[in-house]
Symmetry: C2
Subunit: 292 residues, 2 copies
């Protein structure tokens, strides 16, 4: 894991030293800086102290803007978000790394700063059902803060990802002292519940064509003026999310394109006829009627 400082004026050597000796998350070590460090970098103690102070400020500033971009904190004021900084810590993962497993004790929840993380359930035979793919601005794992049974699902990166971990005890403390944070979290959990309900509807009540149409429309809400869905995930991951086979997904996408519903271009899917897609998703027009 590497800890990144954007545009840092501090030399790489001193960053490495501090990272190795004092931990990436604690740039002002309580025990003070030993004379060996000063000799290493050829610095006087006051100069090193100023550099450390600057680095801490930058780290806090970086965390601040990461939290600021997070969807569920959008309506909070600057001072409310500042309250969360002591509980926040940036963590970076390469692609295909497990962040936590179902049942693991909850140490906090995560905000996606960059990359993508799948939340999933796995059967004993290794079959996987993706609950959601969290992209930048999304958070995940927050329900586990309030459950004695640990994380209710597993999480793994599907891209190299930069996450902000909001540590459990510190976050709960901020929550207890600030009703605005509590309200923001409730809003986020309501959206999570709504997503899960939509997935249940998809799995139990919709056929694969309806599922795909509903997914494409859900990814292209009012904020998506151009009606272009850009898949952050591979088609294999999308198929697992929709609970259909990979070949079925490919066949459906080709049929949707042939019937003029969408236009495919790599990972971009342009919705050409959202109204017809809506009637496919609702089941009021079957794929056959639409010559899909």
């Amino acid at each position: 894991m590497s800890w990144e400082i954007n545009g840092s004026p501090v030399s790489i050597l001193s960053v490495s030293y501090l990272t190795i000796h004092f931990g990436a998350q604690n740039f002002i070590p309580s025990s003070g800086i030993g004379s060996r460090a000063l000799v290493w970098f050829g610095l006087t103690a006051p100069v090193l102290r100023v550099r450390i102070f600057r680095m801490e400020k930058m780290q806090r500033g970086g965390l601040y803007s990461a939290l600021r971009r997070c969807g569920f904190l959008a309506n909070l004021g600057d001072e409310d978000i500042a309250l969360l900084i002591p509980s926040a810590r940036r963590v970076q993962y390469q692609k295909n790394v497990v962040v936590f497993r179902e049942g693991d004790p909850c140490h906090g929840f995560y905000v996606v700063e960059d990359g993508a993380v799948k939340l999933y359930k796995e059967s004993t035979e290794g079959k996987e059902q993706i609950l959601h793919v969290a992209v930048p601005g999304d958070c995940f794992g927050e329900a586990a803060l309030f459950l004695s049974t640990g994380y209710p699902a597993s999480a793994a990166t599907i891209k190299d990802s930069s996450l902000v971990l909001l540590k459990r005890d510190e976050f709960l403390n901020a929550l207890r002292n600030n009703p605005k944070i509590a309200l923001a979290l409730i809003g986020s959990m309501a959206i999570w519940a709504q997503r899960l309900v939509a997935l249940i509807e998809n799995l139990a009540l919709k056929d694969s064509g309806q599922r795909l149409a509903a997914y494409l429309l859900s990814r292209c809400s009012s904020s998506c003026g151009k009606a272009v869905v850009e898949l952050e995930i591979t088609k294999q991951v999308l198929a697992a999310h929709l609970g259909i086979a990979g070949e079925t997904l490919s066949r459906l996408l080709a049929r949707f394109e042939a019937s003029g519903l969408v236009q495919l271009s790599g990972r971009k899917i342009r919705l050409l006829a959202p109204e017809r897609l809506r009637s496919v998703a609702a089941g009021s027009s079957s794929a056959e009627e639409l010559h899909v």
Copy 2:
């Protein structure tokens, strides 16, 4: 709809009069009591005022104990629950009545005092998937308070039911002023999310035998010392909840009994071998291996 006062010392006539003329939820009308009411009951104004005051007190007391029994408010103090009384209103429904439909604007959420309510999604062809059956102490519809899209699912009674409606605006007001209520609600929503995740796992990753075993075990947690599950719902409703056909459920229950996993007696199901049921639910022992 009838409004009930337990052990009321106030005459049925005066209750009916007040119910009809001033609404069941507002026993002290702002406009005062007209002289016609006094003539009807042969009462003087001060006597009627005392009776109205007593009725209001009883209604509040009834609502208080209904909220006190509600799971998500269990850790709140008396004064916190008292804050919710102004937002609370008791409503009664007969069996098979729709409480709200998916997409209806949210006017509040409900606590089940008595009876049972199914939360469900319905396809355009009328196929139904039950998300959860709320029983006394459960609440439902709370996520919709924080969604602009209305209730994410429909709710209908499956028994004659007495519910407490916590009205949206008044409840949100209490929430903003009391972080303890916010925390309690977050806890309730976390459990709701966990239930939905478990249902997704059932639908996507478990066969019908695994689903039934998992359901029976989930109904028989640590609080259920005797290992007896008493179904509040019909077998038909249970089958819809598990997403399996009614005949499949009957066949599975008979097989579970024949193999010594459970003992059936009307709506009571005694779990004879919870450990073996657990391995069926986990998929580590298939129904065939267990001679189920």
